[in-house]
Symmetry: C2
């Protein structure tokens, strides 16, 4: 991948750059093979969304920022893809929301945890939970390595933000009574359907917007309360799915490949 220069005028230059960053961090052991495949799934759904932050995603972002700021013990759960793509935004958001950052991997290995720690430390993270034996508590209903959690972090949290999460774990966290904020490009996934607040957006676009929203809402307790009251996750998801359907129709209709000429070079 890195052997080939991406011309800046390439219609998919941004998407290719993100991909490059991921592959680079795959070689540094922070990203798993399954993380590359998961990224591909995200690319497909992002393409269907029009690679844009929808109005519905913006609403979910405002609500997520309100929820994090209002929480008593917020935690941001980080995996390899998140650390590779948005390390600075994770640290910034954690700072504004006074949230802890915890590493939590589906394919757990100390090597990967340390690679992720390095990425986040470089971005300015002071403390990072969930590394090695620190993840000493277990979520009993989960089979994967993701059941290990830090007793000072996710176990004690009231709000957990899980960018790029798997469905089982989202469900387990919700069943434990926690509010879960998910970032997931597939509005139909179990993560999206089970989460308390679902941001259907590319993590690369959503995270800077979340930082901005949190900065704006920091002193605004009453505004946050209203935002939280007005948000309906089920409706938001349904409207996002409708949006994808409409886009499929319009892509299918208007001359087809003409409209795709500038869109789908890599598909």
């Amino acid at each position: 991948m890195t052997k080939f220069e991406i011309p800046p005028e390439h219609p998919r230059a941004e998407s290719l750059h993100i991909r490059e960053k991921l592959i680079e961090n795959f070689h540094r052991k922070a990203v798993a093979e399954a993380g590359l495949i998961a990224h591909g799934r995200g690319e497909a759904f992002d393409y269907l969304l029009g690679e844009t932050t929808t109005r519905h995603a913006s609403d979910a972002i405002m609500t997520a920022a309100s929820s994090l700021l209002t929480a008593e013990r917020p935690v941001i759960s980080v995996n390899g893809n998140t650390a590779a793509l948005v390390p600075n935004e994770v640290v910034q958001l954690a700072e504004i929301a006074r949230a802890k950052i915890e590493v939590n991997l589906f394919y757990r290995s100390l090597e990967r945890e340390l690679a992720i720690k390095e990425l986040l430390a470089k971005a300015g993270a002071q403390e990072l939970l969930g590394i090695g034996l620190e993840a000493s508590a277990k979520i009993s209903e989960l089979g994967s390595e993701r059941r290990h959690v830090d007793p000072r972090g996710i176990l004690a949290a009231d709000v957990v933000m899980v960018p790029l999460e798997d469905g089982d774990r989202t469900e387990a966290l919700v069943n434990m009574g926690k509010k879960v904020i998910a970032i997931d490009l597939n509005p139909l996934s179990r993560t999206s359907q089970k989460a308390t607040i679902t941001i259907v957006d590319n993590v690369v676009r959503a995270m800077p917007r979340l930082v901005k929203a949190a900065t704006e809402l920091e002193g605004e307790k009453e505004v946050r309360r209203k935002i939280l009251l007005n948000f309906d996750n089920t409706r938001n998801l349904a409207e996002t799915i409708t949006l994808i359907q409409q886009r499929l129709s319009s892509l299918a209709e208007k001359g087809r490949y003409l409209s795709l000429e500038n869109e789908s070079r890599e598909f």
Copy 2:
């Protein structure tokens, strides 16, 4: 990935096994990093299709088999993902259709070519074009490494089958006057839109069906002629897109996550 056993009752067991095979061949250097990401994109579209071979795909498969059998110099173009997932079917189809097999990579390297050669040789391939300096001809309008083709293979072919192809190359082959058969899970991609015959299906499902169709149609010249006459690729693609839209509607409507419970464990 391989460290974790996949329980056979897992709702996504088949999809996970395919993924495992791909990662295994990634470690053997046959599959590129970008191949893992591309596979993820395919997974997303397959999920939207319902992970099934649609009636439209079956029609395209019958047409593709007819086209290969009727061709004078058919060639099956193979990349890393194809060699990893369906090596036996590639060899079987080539035998029935008297087609040549040519390796053609976006991210070309002799190491990868040789790894792919090994996979296909193990599946019984006698001859394999396009390795190293044998790919001495160039498709002038292409920038990527894929422009290198074998003068005895793709350059001279009248029908080229390109499973899991990129759009630029499909277009270039069509512009050279070749009939192109594509297997692509995204009905909106340039490959799908530019190809002469587009099979919107998972290569793992489509290839055994193609082998079966070619076996059945081998002596049936007149039947093949009719099949080829009756097929309309544009209509077939439009109907496939409509099918995805309908599935999105129904997924969005029926209780949502209830219907997904058994479908999207990994999404």
